[in-house]
Symmetry: C2
C-alpha cells in the first residue's frame, strides 16, 4: 500500500509524526508493508515552490492508495494573493482527486466527558457521523469574484448539480443503513433553491432505503439541536458549507477539536485523511499539539481505504487505553488527568498497539 504523507504547516508536522509512528507499529504488529512518500502542501509548498499544491505533490497523491494530510495555513501567508493561499492547496487537492464524501465522526469519549462545556447527561451516549459534501457548493461555484467599477460588489455562487447531490446522499444512506438506520438531512430549504433540490434528491434516494428513517432539518435549527440534544442524531448529511460549520460546532461534544478525525473519500475507496483541526500556529513546535485526531484519521484510512478493520480498531483501542490511563494533551481541560506533550502522547499510543 502506498501512502502519500503531506505534513503541511504549523502543528501539521508534529501530529503527522504520530500517524506515521502508529502506522509503523501497526505494520510491524500485523505484518503489512506500507510505503510512505512525502509531499509539500500549503504554506510550506508556497515557500518552496510558489504554489500551495505543486504538481509533484499532486502526482504523488495520484499514485497513492491513500493520503495523510496534517494541516495547512498560518499568519505567515496572510498576505499572499487569494489564489495561492495555503487553504487553496487543500481545496484544490479535494477537488482534483474528486474526494466528495467527507466523513466526520464525533464520539464523546467517556474519559473526556468532563472536558466538554456540555453537561455529562447531554453527551454521554453521543456517537454520530457527519457526512459532508466536499467538492461542490459555494466552495467551488463560479462566479466567485469582485465586480463593479471600484470592485464594490462581491459575489459567490452556491451551485450543485443533481448528480453531485445524489452520490453524497447515497453514501450517507449506506452509512445510515449500516448504523442506526437514522439519517438527518440538513439544508435551508425555506430560503435556498439548492436546498430544495437537495431535499428532492434525499426523498428520491430514500425510496431505496425503506428501513432508514429520514428527517429534514433546517440548518439554523440543526445548529441548535446538535448541542441541545446531540443524542438524537446518528448520521447527518449536508452540503459543503453547512457541514464545515456543524462539524466544528460538534467538536464541543468531544471536548476538543484535537479529538476529531476525518476521511474524504471517492467511490473507489481512495481517500484523504486529515484532522478536523487547523495548523494552530500559536502552539506549533511547542510539543503541545494533540496528535490523536491525526492518529485517529490514520485509523480511518486503515478502515476505509485499506479494509483493515482489525488494524483500525487496534489504533482506536490504543487511543482509548491511553485516555483510560488519564493522559491527555493541553487542549483538553481535565483537572484530574495527567497532561502530557505531543511526543509522549504518541509514544504511549504506539506502546499500546498489539
Amino acid at each position: 500500500k502506498r501512502i502519500a504523507v503531506l505534513p503541511g504547516d504549523g502543528i501539521g508536522r508534529e501530529v503527522m509524526d504520530g500517524a506515521v509512528r502508529v502506522l509503523k507499529a501497526v505494520s510491524d504488529c500485523f505484518g503489512h508493508d506500507f510505503k510512505y512518500t512525502e509531499g509539500l502542501i500549503g504554506g510550506a509548498a508556497i515557500d518552496a515552490a510558489g504554489t500551495p499544491l505543486p504538481k509533484a505533490t499532486l502526482d504523488v497523491c495520484k499514485e497513492s492508495d491513500a493520503i495523510l494530510l496534517g494541516a495547512v495555513g498560518g499568519p505567515k501567508w496572510a498576505d499572499v494573493s487569494p489564489n495561492i493561499r495555503p487553504e487553496k492547496g487543500l481545496l484544490a487537492i479535494r477537488k482534483a482527486l474528486g474526494l466528495f464524501a467527507n466523513l466526520r465522526p464525533v464520539t464523546a469519549y467517556s474519559q473526556l466527558i468532563n472536558a466538554s462545556p456540555l453537561k455529562k447527561e447531554i453527551i454521554e451516549n453521543v456517537d454520530l457521523l457527519i457526512v459532508r459534501e466536499l467538492t461542490g457548493g459555494i466552495y467551488f461555484g463560479e462566479p466567485s469574484e469582485r465586480r463593479g467599477k471600484n470592485k464594490e460588489i462581491a459575489v459567490d455562487t452556491l451551485l450543485y448539480d443533481k448528480e453531485e447531490v445524489h452520490r453524497i446522499v447515497e453514501k450517507a444512506f449506506q452509512f445510515a443503513q449500516a448504523r442506526s438506520k437514522k439519517l438527518t438531512s440538513v439544508d435551508k430549504a425555506n430560503v435556498l433553491e439548492s436546498s430544495r433540490m437537495w431535499r428532492e434528491v434525499v426523498d428520491a434516494v430514500s425510496a431505496g432505503y425503506p428501513d432508514v428513517k429520514v428527517e429534514h432539518m433546517l440548518v439554523d435549527s440543526a445548529a441548535m439541536k446538535l448541542i441541545q440534544s446531540p443524542e438524537d442524531f446518528d448520521v447527518i448529511v449536508t452540503e459543503n458549507m453547512f457541514g464545515d460549520i456543524l462539524s466544528d460546532e460538534a467538536s464541543i461534544i468531544a471536548g476538543s477539536l484535537g479529538m476529531l478525525p476525518s476521511a474524504s473519500l471517492r467511490s473507489d475507496n481512495v481517500g484523504l485523511y486529515e484532522p478536523v483541526h487547523g495548523s494552530a500556529p500559536d502552539i506549533a513546535g511547542e510539543n503541545k499539539a494533540n496528535p490523536l485526531a491525526m492518529m485517529l484519521s490514520a485509523a480511518m484510512m486503515l478502515r476505509h481505504s485499506f479494509q483493515m478493520e482489525k488494524e483500525a480498531l487496534a489504533v482506536e483501542n490504543a487511543v482509548s487505553a491511553v485516555l483510560n490511563e488519564g493522559c491527555h494533551t493541553a487542549d483538553l481541560n481535565i483537572p484530574s488527568g495527567h497532561c502530557v506533550g505531543t511526543d509522549e502522547m504518541i509514544q504511549k499510543v504506539v506502546e499500546h498497539i498489539n
Copy 2:
C-alpha cells in the same frame, strides 16, 4: 405612536397577545397612547388573500412607527409554490422596508441557568449581541434558480455590495462602542470572495473606532467558540446566513429559543420586532408557547423605535421578576420551577409592570 400588529401563524397569535397586553400595561402606567393596526402575513395571508404579504399589510407597515410580528409558516403550507410560501412574507417585508440591521441579544438569565445543556460556569456571565445583516447575501442574491434541460442544476447567489456591508458594520461598531468595546466579525474569508470584501470593510470602518477591539473569526471556528467560551463574546457582526445559524445556536445559552427577542432596524429607527423562534405548529393553540421572546421584542421596540428606555426596562424587569418567582413555560426544562401556560405567564408579567 402607530404599531402594526402581524400575528402570523401557529403560536404567533398567542405570543402576540402577550406583547399587546404588556404594551397596554406600559401605556397605562407611563401615560402613552399607542395605536394598533392588525395585518395578515404568512400562511394566514395566503389563506385569506393568496399571497404571504398582501399590499394592505405592507401599507399598514409603511404607515407605522414600528411593527410587531409573531411567527410565520407551518406544515399546512408545505406544498404551496416556493414563491408564495409563508416565509416569503417575512423575507419580503424585511426587504421592502429595508430593515437591514437585525439585533439578536442573548442573555443567560440566572433563573434559567439550569435549563441550558451547558455547564453553569460556561454561561453564567453571558450577555452578547448578534448583529446580523438582514437584507442581503444569499437570501436575496440573483440568480436563485434551477437550470438545465431537466432542471438538474440549482444555483443560489451570495452577493453583497460594499455599501450594504458598510452600513451594518457601522451599526455594529456603534453598539460595540456603547457596550464593552469589543467586536467579533464572523466570515469565511478563507473561502468566500464576499467574506474577503467584508473583512476589508470591517478594517476600514474600524479606523473610525480606535477604542473598539476588533477580531475576525471564521464561521466554523465561531460556531465552536460560541459554545465553548461564550463569555469571550460581546458584539458579533456577521452576514445574513451566518447570523441565522449562529443566533439559533446561541439560544442554547439562554436555555430556550423561547427567550430570544429580536429587532430589525433601518437607519431612521423604524423597526420590526419578532421573536427568534418560529411558529411551532406542534404546540399552537395549546396554551403552551413561551410568550417571553415576543414580550421582550416589544421591550426592544420601546427602546429602539420609541426611545423609551424606562418603559423597556419596566418590561424586562417584569420578566425577570416573574422568573424570580420560579415561573416558566414548558419549553424550559427546570425541575424545581413552577410550569405555567402562555396565558398565565402573560398575566404575571403584566401584573409586574409598574
